[in-house]
């Protein structure tokens, strides 16, 4: 009986050890696969995140009344345009991510909804208002779905002026002026 109990104990220890080692091995493998996956996908989001971090750091280094100018490379994708947008703390249209503060965001759209999702990266700024230079944006796309089948003509190209900076495929020069209660963000390209 004693020997029988000893056998069970030894077997348990052996099996548990094997199980633990196997779990560690599988976890390491999954980690390696995930790292490899990150290498090849989600680069736009990574660039967006890095860019907003740089902009936030540059803003924090500015003194009141100071203007900073610096070249910046933002995310760019032919199929998906990225924008730098900003909202003051009293702007009710700001994304939920900003909570009760003013914030600047880089998103794959210039509307609040674009910044709410996983492709919106926002950083809080300690000022009351944020004014982003207006840009002329050209919108085009398929016409409205009227139902009933048939060909739907494409919507004619529309121009819209929005307070957002669209990132091009190369560099822009961001110009940021920090005032007492506001932040003015402009650009040159």
């Amino acid at each position: 009986m004693q020997i029988y109990n000893k056998n069970i104990r030894k077997g348990l220890i052996r099996d548990t050890t094997s199980l633990v080692v196997a779990i560690i091995g599988i976890l390491l493998l999954l980690f390696a696969v995930y790292q490899l996956y990150k290498v090849f996908v989600e680069q736009d989001s990574e660039v967006a995140k890095r860019t907003i971090n740089i902009i936030e750091a540059k803003i924090n280094l500015l003194e009141e009344g100071q203007t900073g100018k610096f070249p910046i490379k933002g995310p760019w994708n032919k199929n998906r345009k990225w924008y730098l947008v900003g909202w003051g703390k009293e702007n009710t249209e700001r994304p939920d991510k900003c909570y009760f503060d003013s914030c600047i965001c880089i998103c794959d759209g210039y509307l609040k909804e674009s910044c709410q999702g996983r492709n919106g990266f926002c950083r809080k700024v300690d000022v009351k208002n944020i004014n982003v230079e207006k840009t002329l944006i050209f919108n085009s796309g398929p016409g409205p779905n009227v139902g009933g089948g048939g060909n739907v003509p494409a919507r004619p190209e529309q121009r819209e002026e929005v307070s957002a900076i669209e990132f091009p495929a190369n560099l822009i020069e961001l110009q940021i002026k920090k005032n007492k209660d506001s932040l003015e963000i402009g650009y040159k390209k």
Partner: protein
């Protein structure tokens, strides 16, 4: 009889006991065999990370994505982004951190220069030249079609303009005196120093082993084709700039012989198509590949007077050298044939050079910039 039976029984039990013990030993042995290698692997990985494995890994990953993109089938190639992160290097006297140029940037490589002027100048030379060489090697020495297929697959024409990767940014802190910068001699460093771990000098590695001298580039030879940057705003905006970008650019060009011909005898050319152009010391210049597409277009030498705003820093910038390759690029069969509408073809020009890190200078040369800032 019974005694013998009992003896046998005891022996059996003992044997079983021994087996159990052996099993126990085997268990320990097995545990050691599995767990120790894993632990050893983790320790080695941590050690390599401590030594800067991450940095070497980043360069290797970039190179991997370059080769992968250049040689993968078209269907896959469109999904391979260039995972090349711009390296940021700050050369400082120990007090500053290049705040004027690199404030807020992550993963800075801060190199403290010694107080000795000559030694400090040597380190500036070593850092600048090594950055340029590493960029060239990482991007496949200009012989891999990195952007052609990718741009076509994205619906862009490869001849829209050069596409670039900013490999690194080198900033010199304002605390570094002008006398140190005046001591810097990049040309001589490239000509007389060997690549780490190799037999050839930097100059030989960029071109052909037989070359060990520089050509003299006269701006007069480009007189008809000079396209000087005349924007007055450059002086206003970048008067305090002390930063260069090591930029790799590439463009597909069906009439490559014309582009190459424009460089004339003022550049070193090897039979393999590699070349090196060195601006005259004291003047600054950047080479823009321009639109070498459907119609022949000149290779232009830009900059010069407009860059005089980099007073003091200009002496360093004026020594920057461009190295490149014009000829057949390794590419997939899909784009080997040139198409009037889509571009393509397997002829192209690649170049790596140091340029002032400002948006105008870089955008003059680069229609598209890939990689991670």
């Amino acid at each position: 009889m019974q005694k013998e039976l009992k003896k046998e029984e005891t022996k059996l039990k003992l044997r079983e006991g021994m087996k159990i013990n052996k099993r126990g030993e085997i268990e320990v042995e097995q545990t050691i065999k599995f767990v120790l290698p894993v632990l050893a692997f983790l320790i080695v990985l941590g050690f390599l990370a401590y030594l800067g494995f991450k940095e070497a890994a980043q360069e290797d990953i970039c190179h991997l994505t370059v080769i992968s993109r250049g040689t993968s089938p078209q269907a896959v190639q469109a999904e391979i982004p260039l995972k090349c992160t711009t390296k940021k290097i700050c050369l400082t006297d120990g007090k500053g951190k290049c705040d004027e140029s690199l404030a807020g940037e992550e993963n800075l490589d801060i190199i403290k220069l010694p107080k000795d002027s000559r030694k400090a100048a040597r380190i500036i030379e070593e850092t600048s030249v090594a950055s340029m060489y590493n960029c060239w090697k990482m991007m496949g020495e200009g012989k891999v079609d990195i952007f052609g297929n990718y741009l076509i697959s994205r619906g862009l024409r490869p001849v829209e303009g050069p596409t670039c990767v900013i490999c690194s940014r080198v900033a010199i802190d304002k605390g570094i005196s002008q006398s140190i910068i005046n001591d810097v001699n990049l040309h001589e460093y490239m000509r007389s120093n060997k690549v780490p771990g190799g037999d050839k000098t930097y100059l030989q590695s960029f071109t052909d082993s037989s070359f060990n001298t520089y050509p003299y580039v006269s701006t007069k030879s480009f007189q008809d084709k000079l396209n000087t940057i005349k924007d007055e705003n450059i002086e206003e905006v970048h008067a305090s700039g002390r930063e260069i970008g090591l930029v790799f650019m590439q463009i597909k060009a069906p009439k490559i012989s014309e582009a190459v011909g424009n460089l004339g005898s003022d550049a070193l050319f090897s039979a393999g198509g590699a070349f090196m152009v060195s601006s005259v010391k004291g003047t600054s210049g950047i080479i823009s590949l321009g639109k070498l597409g459907l119609k022949s277009a000149p290779v232009v030498l830009g900059g010069g007077a407009a860059l005089a705003a980099f007073s003091g820093f200009n002496a360093y910038l004026g020594q920057t050298t461009a190295a490149g390759y014009c000829g057949a690029l390794a590419t997939t069969p899909l784009v080997k044939n040139y198409d009037e509408e889509k571009g393509g073809g397997d002829q192209g020009c690649s170049i790596v050079q140091a340029v002032p890190y400002d948006f105008r200078s870089i955008n003059t040369m680069c229609a598209n910039i890939e990689g991670i800032p």
